[in-house]
Symmetry: D3
Subunit: 336 residues, 6 copies
C-alpha cells in the first residue's frame, strides 16, 4: 500500500498530571506531537502506512521524539538531524469552566532552522499516495515555508493528492513575512483544504456573501473559485459547552454539494489536543479507502470524537473502533 | 453469625492508569477479583461474614491474591494451592463513546485444573447460611463444573440457600461440553437465579410469551416452572448512555409478584467492573437481614450503584453508606 | 499596597489518589490548608498582598506547612513556633452519589495550645487593610478564642475592616465553652459576616420571620440589628446534584439591598474543599478593589466556581481568569 | 498450631518517596506498623500463626490498619475499637551520612486511652504458645502499662512463654510514672528479655562488672539474678557504617552460655524500620521450632538482615528465604 | 548495512516498583523482553540494523509488544500474529542478600504454538549478516524448535554467520523432547556458541579434562571438536557479591587462543535482567565492525556492564558510551 | 540580619524518575535551579537570609520558578519579569560506571535577554552582607555580563564582600566575547574566588610553578598577586569513584596559609547536582558566622557532602545537620 506523507514540527509536550496547574506540579507527563505528525500516527493506527518528515536536534530529545513515532509505526526514516533544540510546549488541562491552556516554547527550534535543501522530496514522496501539511509550518520560519512549498510542488508534479489545514495562528508568524503573502502560494497546489470562515477571511480576505444561506458554503465556493486545484473544503464545528464537554460535527463543500456529518457528544473529554488532526486523518483514510465523501467526512468526525477520549496527541483508535462510532454505537458498553 | 460461602476463580486484574490504552501504558494497576469472590468481599464490607473457596497456584501470585481478599476480611482458609498459573485479565478503561475493554488470559489456570476431590464441601459449608456460584465456573473446565455441582448439591442437602448467577458467556465454554447441557443440572439446585431474558433463551430455550406484558416476568415464570426449587429470579436493567454514564435498576419475580427498584443515575462512573456482583451481594445481604424482597432488591441496586464509584472489583461500601442511597440521599454532599 | 491578614489553624491534608477510599490506599497526596489561610493564599494569587498568622510545632511538618504558603506568596513571618503537633485531616474524594468524606485528627494541636500573648496584634496588623477570621478558630480552644478576640478588637481599634465566617461546626466545640456564649463577643466587632440561616439560628437564636419573602434577608436584617457594626451579610447557595456536580451562587444583604450573583454550573468538580474560602477571598478582593457590592459578590462566586476545578485547598486562579468567568465566559475553550 | 500473641500500639507510618525530605514532598507512602505487631506479621510470613491485640479508633484509619495486618494473615479479631485517633509517625529516609529521621505524632491516641478492662486476657491467650510485649507499651500511658501487666500475668498463669523487649525510649515516658518504677514489675514475669547494656543500666541500674570480659554477659548475668524467671537475655549488635550500610549480629546469654550469631553485611539498606522486631520474630520462630538456641539466634539475625531489604515495617520473608541466609547464601544470585 | 536477525519469544515483564515484593505491590511496571529480542534491540541502539522474528497473539498485548520494539528501531515486520496469549513473567527485584526472583507464566503462549510454516526464512534472512538464537526457543515447544532449526539451516545455506546461546534451563523443557536430543542438531549449524562448562556438561556430556589448566578452554576445545562449524566459544564469568553488586568479565576460546576481557565492578546494579543478552549484542557488534576478537569480547562485556545500570530488558547504550567504558572510563563523571 | 544576595539564571530542570534514560521516560520530575540561586536557597535552609536576583518570562513557568524559591524562603522580590522563555535542562541520572548526563536548552532565555538597566543594584544590595556570582552568568550574553559587572562594582562600592565561582564552561560562551577578555574585569572586584587550576589556566593563563609542592597553592598565589582584592581562593577536590560513589574535600589558600578540610565518603549519591553550590553556601555561612577559615571550609564541604544525599538542586540541610557531619558523625544512625 502506498503511504501518506506528512511534514511539520514535532514538539515535546509536558503536562502536569490530572488537572494540576503548571504552577503546582512537581512532575510532568511527557509525550510528543505536532499537527502533521499526529495525522500520520493516527493513520498508522487505522492501518494506513504513513511517513512523517521533520527536523530534530541530534540529541537525546530528538531521538526520543523519533522513537515515540516509530513506536506507533510511523516511518521516520526521512528525519533530518540538524540544529540545537527541540521545540516544546506546556499543557495545563482545565475542567468545567476552567480552560485548558498551552504555553509554547518553540521559537528557534531545530525545525525552525531547517535547511530546505536537506529534504529530497522526489525521493521522500516516491511511494506516496497523499501529502498533508498545515499552516503552522510556513508560520515558523522562511526556511520551513520554503521546504513546505517544495514538498507541495513536488507532490503536485508527481500526481499526489495534497491536503492543507490552513490553521491560521496569528501570533506564530514572527519571522518577517505575512501569512497573507505566503499562504496563497501554498494553497494553490492543494486538492483539499481545511479552513473555517475566519481563517479564510483572515488569510484570503474571503467574506461569505451577505444573505448566503450557509456561510461555510459561501466561503468554500469563493475559495474554490480562487484556487482552482481545490476540490473539497472541510472543517469541523465544535460546540464548547465546557472544558469537559464538547459537541462536534464536520462539514464539507465540494463546489456543488454541502455534506454534513452527525454530531457527537463528548463528555467527559480525556484529552482535547489533536482532535482536529484526528479528524483530518480520518477524512484522509476515508477518502483513500472509499469514494464516498459523506463516509469520509463521518469517518473523520467519528475519529476525532474518539481522539478526545484518548491521552496524548494522536488517535490510538483502530478502524474497527471508528466504524462502531460511525454505526452509531456510542453507548460505551463494556467489551469482553 | 453464619457465613455466606462463594466459589469461583479469582484473577489478577491489570489495568493502565486513568484512561490510558493498553498499547500506551508502561505501568499497570493491579488488583484481584472474580465474580463470586467479589460477592464475598462486598458482603464482608457490609458486615456479613463470608468465605470464598478457590484454587490458586502455590506461588507469589496465589499468595498475593489470597492476601488481597484476607485484607478485606474474607475467610480464605479453604483455598486449595495446586496448579501452575493464576488466571489474569487486562482492563482498559474507556470514556464517553469509547467502551472499556477486557482482554482475558485465563485459560489453563490453576482453577481450571482444580481437582474436585480437593474440596470437602461438607466441611466447608458447615457454618454457611448461603452458597453462591456463577455460570462462569462451569464454563471454565469439566472439573470446575463438577466441583460447582458438588457444592450446590451439598448445600442443598444441608438446607443452605443457593443462588446462581447464570451469566452466560459463550466464548468461555471451550472444554468440550455445552452450557446448555451443563447448566440445567446446576440451576436445578438453586433458590435464587440471576438471569436476563437473553441468558434464559440461550441456555434454556425459554422465550418470553408473545404478547406478554413484561418479557422478564414471562421468562421468570417459565424458569420457575422448569426449575421448581427456584423461588426468585432477579436481574438488573442497565441503560448505557456512555462509558462514563449509566442508569441502573433491579427487577425481581418470585412466581407471583413483580418487584422493581428505583433507578439510579451514575455519572461519572469510576469503575464499572463488579457492578453486577455488588448487586448480588447487596441482594443476599438484604435477603438475610430483612424478610422483604423489595428492600433486598433496592439494597442490591443501591449497592451496585455505589460500586460504580469505587476503584477495584468489589464494593467497599458499608451498610450505612448503602442505606443512605436507599433513603434517596444521592446528592453526594460532603461529610465532615 | 496594604495587606489582608488572616488568622487560624493550618492542617496537613492527606488524601488518597483519584477516588480511592481511605481503606484502599497505600499513598496519600499531601497538601496544607485551613479556612482562613486559604483566603490569604487565594488573595495572593489574585495579586493582593496577604499575611497569615498561625501557630505551628517547631518540627519538619510545621516547616513544610510554612513553606507551602510561602511558595504562593503568603507572608508567614508572624508564625509562632510552639507546641507538639500539626493538626491533620484525611480527605476521601467521592463521585456521583458517593460523598467526599473528611476524617479530622486535629485535637490537641500546636494551634489549639497557642499562647495568646505570643501574638503582638498591634505589630501584626500595622499594615493591614482587612482582617479575616472564621468560627472554627474559637471552636478549637479557649486560648485560640482569646487570640481571635484580641485580633478582632485590635483591628477594630486600628480601623481595619473585619470579616468573620461564622461557620458553625457543632462537633468541634469540645473545650468546655459554648459557641452561643463565645461567638457574639467576636461578631460584635465585625463589618462583614458570612452566615447561613442555619448558622444564625444555631448560634444567635435568630429565626427568619414567618412569612418573610426571603428567609436570608429576614435573618440578615435581624443579625444587623443585633450587631450594629455589621454592614453586610453574605453567603453562598449550593445545589448539590452529586459529589461531581454542583451549582453555586452568592447572596448578600446590606441592611437595605438584597444582591444576588449569577449561578454557576460546576461539572465535573475537581476538588470541592476550600470552595467557601475562595468565595470569601474573591469577595474581599472585589470589595477592596471596587466599591460595588454586586461586582464583589459576583467576583467572589466566580472565584469559588473556579476553585472547584483546582486541586488543593485554595484558589490558584488569577484575577484575569476570574474576570473571564465574571464576563460569562464559562465555555472552557482551549487557550493557546 | 498454637499461636503467638503480641500486644501493642499500631501507627500509621507516612514517608516521602525515595530519599525526599519531609519538607519537600507532596506525597506520602503509607503503611502501618508497631514494634509488637511487626513481630506478629513477621511470624505469619514464616508460617507461624500469630494474633495481635490492640486498640483502634472506630474510623476508616482504624479499619485500614486492621486490614493491613489481616492481609498478611495476622489474627486481628481481638482488636478493641474505642477512642479518637490513630497514632502516626513520619519517616524520612536518609542516605550515606544523612540519617533517617522519625517524627512521632502518637500522643493521646486511641491506644494510649485504652481501657484495660476491655481486654479479656484469659480468652485472648487461650490458644497461645508465646506472648510478646515491648517497653514501648508501658511508656505510652498508665492504662496501657496496666493492660500489659495484666497480659503478662495471665500468660504466666497459663504457662505461656513470655518475651519482653525492654526498648527504653526516655522521651516517650510522659504520663507521670517512671520507667524505673514500672518496668521491673513487667520484666519479672518474663522468660526472654531483649536488652542492651544501656537499657539495663538506665532501667535497672545494672552496670557490667568492671573488668568483665564481655559487658553483655556480665549485664545478663545480673539481670537473670535479679529476675529469676528470665532464662535468656538477647540483643543485636549493629555497626552503623552509614544510613545505607550496616553490619548486624546477635548475642545471647542463658545464665551459662554465651552464644553469638554470624555477622551480616547489609548494603544497600532498603528499609531499616522494624529490623529489631524481625530479629525477635525470627528468634521466637526458631525457639518454637527447634530446641537449639544457637539456631534460634542465627535465624533471628538472618531474619533481621533480610528485613532491611524489604519495604515496610515487617519482614515479608518466608522460612525458606531465611534458611538460605542462615546457610550462608548471601550472594543474592537471581532465582528463576 | 545488512541486518542482524534474531528469533525467539517476547514476554510481557511485570515488576513491582523499587524493591517491593510481589505480594506487596498494587502496581506493576511493564516492559517487554526476551533473550533474543534483547540482542536485536541492544544492537539497534549501537547503530546496527536488526530485525526480530516472533509470534504474537493478535490482541492489544501483541500490539504493545510489537510497538515496544519498533520504538527502539527493531524491524518487526516479520512478526506472525497467531495464537491466544502473550507469555509473561513477574520480576521481583532484590537487594543486598535478598535475590531477585522471576516467576514465569509463559506456557501455552502464542509463540509456543507457532506454526513453523508461517516463517519464510529465505525471505526473512535475505538481507541478514548474522542470525542469533538461544536454547530457550527449542525448550518451549516442538514447533518452536523446528522453526529454530529451519532458521539455522537456512542461514547456514545463505552463508550467514550463526550464533547460539545454549542457555540451558532444565525446567523449561516440558513438551516431551529432551534438550540432549534436540540441541546438538541446532548447535551443529553455528559459528559462535555461548556456553558455560555446566551447560556443556548437561547438554553434551562434555567434561573438562582432569588436570586442565583452564576448565573453560578444555570444554571449548571439545565442543569445537564435536561441532566443527563452531569457531568461537564465549561466556561471561560473573562474581555475585550481592543482589546489588556483581563483577563481570568475558572469556573466549577460538580453538587456539584463550582471550579474556577486563573485569568490571558493577555497584549498584539497576537492572540485572538482559545482562547476558547485552554481552552477546556487544560481541556481535564488535565482531561485525572489527576483525579483532579481543576487541569484540571486551566490547561485549562493557556493553553488559552498562546494561546493568539501565532499566528494562535491553541495553540502551550507544556505541560511544560503550567505547568510553572500553577505554577504562568507568568513573561515572557527570557529562554536561 | 543582613542578607546574602546572589544573581544568575534559574532553569527548569527535567529528569526522568530513578535511573531511567531520557529516551525511555514518559514522565519528568521537575524542579528549578541555577548555580547562584542554589547558593541562596542553601543559605536560607541554614538560617541565613538570602535574596536571589534574576529575570523570568512573565508566564506560568516564570511564576512557578519564583514560587519554588519563595517556598524555601529565598527573597525573590527583585525578580524582573521580561522576555519569552525560561531556560531549561534535562538531567539523566547515571549509576555505577554510567555517568549522569545534562542536556541544556537554555539559549535565548529571558535571562539571556535581560536589560541591565532593569536592575537597580544600589537598591537591591542595600541590606546585603555578601554578593555572590558565578562565571556562568557572563557566559550567557553580553547583557548578563554587564549586569553582573554592575552588581560587583556596586557591591564593592558599598563595602559588601564579593565571591565569584569562575566555573569556566567553554561551550557556553557563544555570544561573541571571550571569557578571557570578560572574566578579569569581574574577578578584579572580588574577595573570594572559587577556582581550580584548570579554570585559572584557561581563563587567566596562570600555570602552577613547575616544581611547586602544591599546584593549587601555586596557582592561588599567582591569582591573588594578579587580582589584589582577592583574599581567599577555594575549591573542592572530588574523587569520582563511580556515578554512585564520590569522595570530597575542600582546599583554601589565603595568600599565606593552605587549609584543607576532612574528606567525606559519599555512597550512594542521591543527587549530585548543586554539590559545588552547597559548598559555596556553606563556606559563606561559615565565613559570616565564624572568623575561622578552617571552620568555614569544613562547614562548606560538610554541606556539600550532605547535598549529595538530597534530591533537587540545593541543600535542604539545617545548620544542626551540617554541624553533626562536621563533628564527624557520618554514621547515619536513625534519629527518633
Amino acid at each position: 500500500m502506498k503511504q501518506v506523507v506528512t511534514f511539520g514540527e514535532i514538539m515535546l509536550r509536558l503536562s502536569p498530571p490530572l488537572n494540576y496547574r503548571l504552577t503546582q506540579t512537581a512532575t510532568f507527563e511527557a509525550t510528543y506531537g505536532g499537527g502533521e505528525a499526529n495525522v500520520a500516527a493516527s493513520l498508522t493506527q487505522l492501518g494506513m502506512p504513513a511517513a512523517h518528515v521533520t527536523c530534530f536536534p541530534a540529541n537525546e530529545l530528538g531521538q526520543a521524539a523519533t522513537q515515540h513515532f516509530q513506536r506507533y509505526g510511523v516511518n521516520m526514516e526521512h528525519t533530518v538531524f540538524h540544529g540545537e533544540r527541540l521545540g516544546l510546549y506546556f499543557l495545563e488541562v482545565g475542567a468545567s469552566m476552567r480552560p485548558s491552556k498551552v504555553v509554547y516554547d518553540r521559537f528557534d527550534s531545530a525545525f525552525a532552522n531547517l535547511r530546505p535543501e536537506d529534504f529530497n522530496w522526489e525521493e521522500i514522496l516516491k511511494d506516496a499516495s497523499w501529502f498533508h501539511w498545515t499552516g503552522i509550518t510556513p508560520a515558523i520560519s522562511a526556511s520551513a515555508a520554503q521546504a513546505c512549498k517544495d514538498a507541495i510542488q513536488t507532490a503536485r508534479r508527481l500526481g499526489i493528492t495534497v491536503s492543507g489545514d490552513v490553521n491560521y495562528r496569528r501570533n506564530l508568524w514572527q519571522y518577517g513575512q505575512k501569512a497573507q503573502d505566503v499562504m496563497p502560494g501554498l494553497v494553490e497546489g492543494c486538492d483539499v483544504i481545511v479552513a473555517s470562515e475566519n481563517d479564510s477571511e483572515d488569510l484570503f480576505g474571503i467574506v461569505p456573501q451577505e444573505g448566503a444561506q450557509h456561510s461555510f458554503t459561501s466561503m468554500a465556493e469563493q475559495l474554490i473559485a480562487r484556487f482552482p486545484t481545490v476540490k473539497q473544503v472541510i472543517t469541523t464545528r465544535r460546540e464548547t459547552l465546557s472544558a469537559s464537554h464538547n459537541q462536534l460535527k464536520g462539514i464539507l463543500y465540494d463546489g456543488q454539494n454541502f455534506v454534513e456529518s452527525p454530531s457527537y457528544d463528548i463528555v467527559p473529554i480525556v484529552d482535547r489536543i489533536g482532535g482536529g488532526d484526528a479528524f483530518i486523518a480520518g477524512f484522509i483514510y476515508g477518502s483513500l479507502t472509499t469514494n464516498d465523501q459523506q463516509q469520509a467526512l463521518t469517518f473523520g468526525v467519528a475519529s476525532s470524537a474518539l481522539k478526545h477520549t484518548i491521552h496524548g496527541d494522536f488517535n490510538l483508535a483502530t478502524k474497527a473502533e471508528v466504524d462502531e462510532v460511525v454505526k452509531g454505537n456510542t453507548s460505551g458498553r463494556l467489551l469482553r
